[in-house]
Amino acid sequence: MTAAFGASLAEAAAVCLEDQHHTSGVRLPVEGDCDVTCLLFWDQATDRMKRTWADRDAATEHGAYGLAVLLVRDLKNMTVGERSYRGNGFDFWVGATHDGLFQRKTRLEISGIRNGSDGVIRARLDEKIARLHRYKNPLPALIVVIEFGKPRSRLVNYNG
């Protein structure tokens, strides 16, 4: 991931968090495979950033990418090794890089919600798991759901 693209993900996350009236230092509970609370710090979003991320869905999706990548790194000690293009965005793959592009990588399934209840978060997570359940030999996956309203998150490791 280029520095410029990583920075743009951080900006999207900042715009989403401030849109929900959060300020730098807000607590982000992470539930699922772990039960921790992270503190989020960011530089205040500028007017330019807000204009750039005026598309609410795009900002939510990319903001979730940004936070998910950090959560996986800090909580699972895994970094995004590869990406592949997939309709207006990316699939992220985490894991060691020496095994070849997508070999033995874990697919990062990310979902962003600008403002939703626990029910919405659970439904989004269940939807991801249900899809993977359909496969006999699903690829290893880490499912991350980010909700900016509270904010809160779910992180689930899926290995079939």
Binding site: Y85, G89, F90
Partner: protein, 386 residues
């Protein structure tokens, strides 16, 4: 594999930039960058075409390249890439995604062609309207350009004529030492009339003012335009030391009767009617006032009466000569007044003209206003008696 890795990572970097450009609203740049990304990614995938056991890398790369093909609107290539990916053994979920992608590409391909065909006539209408509008705009632009050029040509022609004519006037005037030309004595040029210019020049004169005319009514008659100025100059002459010499046509001269004939009418040439002419009345009045001024301001002013035909109004200072040619066309000043720089040959000639007349003229102090005992004498006799 390393080559494929490099191409893939390069493709992803182009994707980063393309998405950022799209986010900024720069869709043209975004399209270009996606095209680059597609080329790189399809290149990376093609290197693994025969490594069918390298899964999920092979199928993920082909799927990524096919997604970029769709992004670039290259739907048939997207389907081809999917087909190649399917020749391997993609993981179940990637297989499902490839199938969905192929269907999506097919759908886009089918939708885009009918959409294009359905609106073909609309496009033609738009094209025709645009073409007509463009053609009309070109015609209007051409017409406006031609009009502008024609106007410009006329303006240049007029300006050139003016410059050429003015150049001729200026060249001649410069050669003669003429620094100003007033259409008449009372016409304003460059904000001032000849009278005002003369007044200004007399005001700053500290040596000699010489003037000659017919009656010099502007200077000596009480309602004359410069009478108050003359009196003021004389009042201060003790300090300024300025000397005034004036030449007025002898009121009882044949020359003045001739003026009366052309100004007032033939019958005014002969006495006693001549004495009723404005020509005589004004000149006589001017002579008598001049005589009084001589008595009062002696030696600051000297006035003489001359009998030669008046040909020129003349005002001489040490800096300029102002002159105006007299004609018999009518009474009044309808001819240009020329202002000549001192030192010019013309100035010297005018100065000589004044001196020669001055030398033969009679002092106004000997002038006897109308002698009623002589008013029935023939004009020639009266003139001789003066």
């Amino acid at each position: 594999m390393d080559k494929s890795n490099d191409l893939h990572r390069s493709a992803m970097e182009f994707c980063d930039q393309a998405l950022l450009a799209r986010q900024r609203g720069d869709s043209d740049l975004s399209r270009l960058l996606f095209r680059e990304a597609f080329d790189k990614e399809s290149g990376a995938a093609s290197l693994l075409k025969d490594q069918r056991d390298l899964e999920p890398t092979r199928s993920v790369l082909y799927r990524s390249a096919a997604e970029l093909a769709v992004e670039c609107g290259r739907f048939s290539e997207a389907k081809e890439l999917v087909n190649i990916a399917l020749e391997g053994s993609p993981p179940e979920e990637i297989l499902e995604e490839l199938t969905e992608l192929s269907e999506r590409a097919e759908r886009f391909a089918q939708n885009s062609a009918p959409l294009r065909d359905a609106h073909a006539s609309d496009y033609k209408d738009v094209e025709r309207v645009l073409t007509d509008a463009a053609r009309q705009a070109v015609i209007i632009a051409q017409e406006e350009t031609l009009i502008s050029i024609e106007n410009l040509r006329k303006q240049i022609g007029t300006a050139t004529d003016t410059i050429l004519s003015v150049t001729g006037v200026l060249s001649g005037a410069k050669a003669a030492g003429i620094v100003n030309i007033f259409p008449t004595r009372y016409t304003t040029i460059a904000g001032k009339t000849a009278i005002e210019t003369m007044r200004q020049d007399m005001d700053i004169e500290r040596s000699a003012i010489r003037m000659m005319g017919i009656s010099l009514g502007d200077f000596f008659l009480d309602r004359g335009n410069l009478h108050a100025d003359i009196v003021r100059i004389l009042d201060s002459s003790f300090d300024t030391r300025v000397k005034i010499q004036s030449l007025i046509v002898h009121p009882k001269s044949t020359a003045l009767k001739e003026r009366a004939r052309w100004e007032a009418g033939p019958e005014y040439f002969t006495a006693p009617i001549f004495y009723d002419s404005t020509t005589y009345i004004e000149t006589d009045g001017a002579a008598r006032i001049a005589r009084r001024l001589c008595e009062r301001y002696n030696p600051a002013i000297a006035v003489k009466l001359y009998k030669q035909t008046p040909t020129t109004f003349l005002l001489l200072t040490t800096r300029f000569a102002f002159f105006e040619v007299y004609t018999y066309a009518a009474r009044g000043s309808g001819v240009p007044v020329f202002q000549v720089q001192a030192g010019a040959p013309l100035y010297s000639q005018l100065e000589s003209h004044f001196s020669r007349i001055w030398d033969v003229a009679e002092s106004v102090e000997g002038y006897q206003p109308l002698d009623h005992g002589q008013e029935n004498l023939p004009a020639s006799a009266q003139e001789d008696s003066q």
